[in-house]
């Protein structure tokens, strides 16, 4: 594994080995000194062409906990020059001796292109609606912590499936670990097809006997684009205490954040005992430490 772009071409042992490493990193984060010297001498760049504070901080903290040096690039680029400026930015960073690039972009495929431009490791920090692999890895890790195994488990993903890179990456990763994935949302927010998962406009079908429920953020832009009406969405798709009664008792609740309380999720549920939202944030750092370790160690230095 040279890059982390999505889960195409990944097999189960590779994912499990990465999650095993993440388990060790989780323990490092519990120590009095939450830092190990493993990546001393490596340089990690976070290159965010689309703003995201949480993901960037999580990656930067992960790199620092591993003793790597971190540089950070954030910019909005004019649409006219995008192709050129992506490449120029990365080549500039490469000339400064960067070993790994965490790339976030609003258009799909930028991280893939980047692998042709730079010699270092490329980690997809979210590209368009295509993929957000480290989010899926931290979701898988959090689910495994809660459920023990994903083999034969039913996971419901609820919300704007069509525009969600989180849903798409989870749809690739969770079945690889043996889970059955049901994606539910309004017909206007469901893709035509999503390989390996069940798509349904009926929330009840997805929640029925679910072992875990993942709720996605409903973006304001979707409502502005007329794809969905807020009151309609809340009436039919908001995950509520009452609707959750269809799922297995105490089925855990995940959300990639940031949350719109009382839109996609009934307010109190976010703070209930079932909610693993804080755990997801903590596990995110550990999973990203593991990704950096797996991609950087064993690779020729820049």
């Amino acid at each position: 594994m040279r890059h982390l772009l999505d889960f195409q071409g990944w097999n189960r042992p590779e994912v499990e080995s990465l999650l095993d490493t993440a388990r060790v990193m989780r323990e490092v984060l519990e120590r009095p000194v939450k830092k190990v010297p493993a990546l001393q001498g490596f340089t990690v760049a976070t290159v965010f062409f689309e703003p995201s504070t949480r993901t960037r901080i999580s990656f930067e903290l992960a790199a620092r906990r591993m003793s790597a040096d971190v540089v950070s690039f954030a910019a909005q680029t004019s649409s006219l020059q995008k192709g050129e400026s992506y490449k120029d930015t990365l080549l500039t960073l490469e000339a400064m001796g960067v070993d790994a690039y965490v790339i976030r972009a609003d258009s799909a495929g930028v991280p893939h292109q980047a692998t042709r431009w730079v010699k270092g490791a490329v980690i997809n920090g979210g590209d368009g609606r295509r993929a957000h692999p480290t989010q899926a890895l931290l979701d898988a890790y959090t689910l495994l912590e809660a459920l023990g195994t994903l083999e034969g488990k039913k996971v419901a993903i609820v919300g704007d499936i069509l525009h969600s890179r989180v849903a798409r990456s989870n749809a690739e990763l969770l079945p690889l670990l043996g889970a059955q994935v049901f994606c539910a949302g309004p017909p206007s927010l469901l893709p035509q097809s999503l390989p390996g998962v069940h798509l349904t406009p009926h929330l009840e079908e997805a929640l029925e006997e679910a072992d875990a429920v993942m709720v996605l953020r409903l973006q304001k832009e979707r409502m502005e684009a007329g794809l969905v009406h807020l009151e309609d969405y809340i009436a039919r798709y908001q995950v509520t205490e009452r609707r959750l009664a269809r799922a297995k008792p105490q089925a855990p609740l995940l959300h990639p954040g940031p949350m719109n309380r009382d839109v996609e999720l009934e307010g109190g549920l976010a703070d209930s005992a079932r909610s693993l939202v804080n755990r997801q944030v903590q596990n995110g750092v550990a999973v990203r430490m593991a990704v950096l370790y797996h991609l950087l160690v064993g690779r020729e230095k820049a």
Binding site: S17, D20, V24, E27, V36, F42, Y293, H294, V297
Partner: protein, 181 residues
């Protein structure tokens, strides 16, 4: 690789570990504040055996922890492959304790150096000892063992293999020689 000689058999290993167990208790003047930490992979069963011997003749349980030094290695930027990281589990507070690090072979001293750094990040022990089953020489760092099962002069193209029942199905220490390339 070519097999050269058996360095220790099962009985000799048992006696060496039994003696080390006594030496540890003697050096620490009892079991007060004493704890063992085995280094992955074969240091772990050896630490458990020493703890069992101490329990036998002192009637006191000495806690045993497990240490993986992978994230503390000094060659991760250059080795060209990725070593699997493994679990570290120290089920007691290190601070104020007398810790005995246990490993199978002492060679360059780099593993012991990494283990010392790892322990320091986990707490502040009162004192750290090093116990090894075999000291084969060729140190690259100013490190020495406090308790040694057997000193074996070796050449650099030789390999010392410690086998333990828990991992390898038998107790035996072997000397091998690398074929000339």
């Amino acid at each position: 690789m070519r097999f050269k000689a058996e360095l220790m058999n099962q009985e000799e290993m048992r006696r060496a570990l039994y003696r080390i167990a006594h030496e540890i208790v003697e050096a620490n003047k009892g079991t007060e504040g004493l704890a063992l930490v085995g280094i992955h992979t074969r240091g772990i069963p050896l630490a458990h055996r020493i703890a069992r011997f101490i329990a036998e003749f002192e009637g006191k349980e000495v806690p045993v922890g497990v240490l993986d030094i992978t994230l503390y290695r000094d060659d991760l930027t250059e080795i060209g492959y990725r070593p699997q990281v493994r679990e570290t589990r120290i089920p007691f507070d290190l601070t104020g304790k007398a810790i005995v690090l246990v490993d199978d072979v002492l060679y360059t001293g780099r593993t012991a150096r990494a283990a010392l750094d790892a322990l320091m990040d986990l707490g502040r022990p009162r004192r750290i000892y090093l116990a090894v089953l075999v000291d084969r020489g060729h140190r690259e760092l100013p490190i020495r063992a406090d308790f040694v099962g057997k000193n074996v002069p070796t050449s650099r193209n030789e390999v010392v293999k410690v086998k333990v029942v828990e991992v390898d199905g038998e107790d035996r220490v072997e000397l091998w020689e690398r074929e000339e390339a």
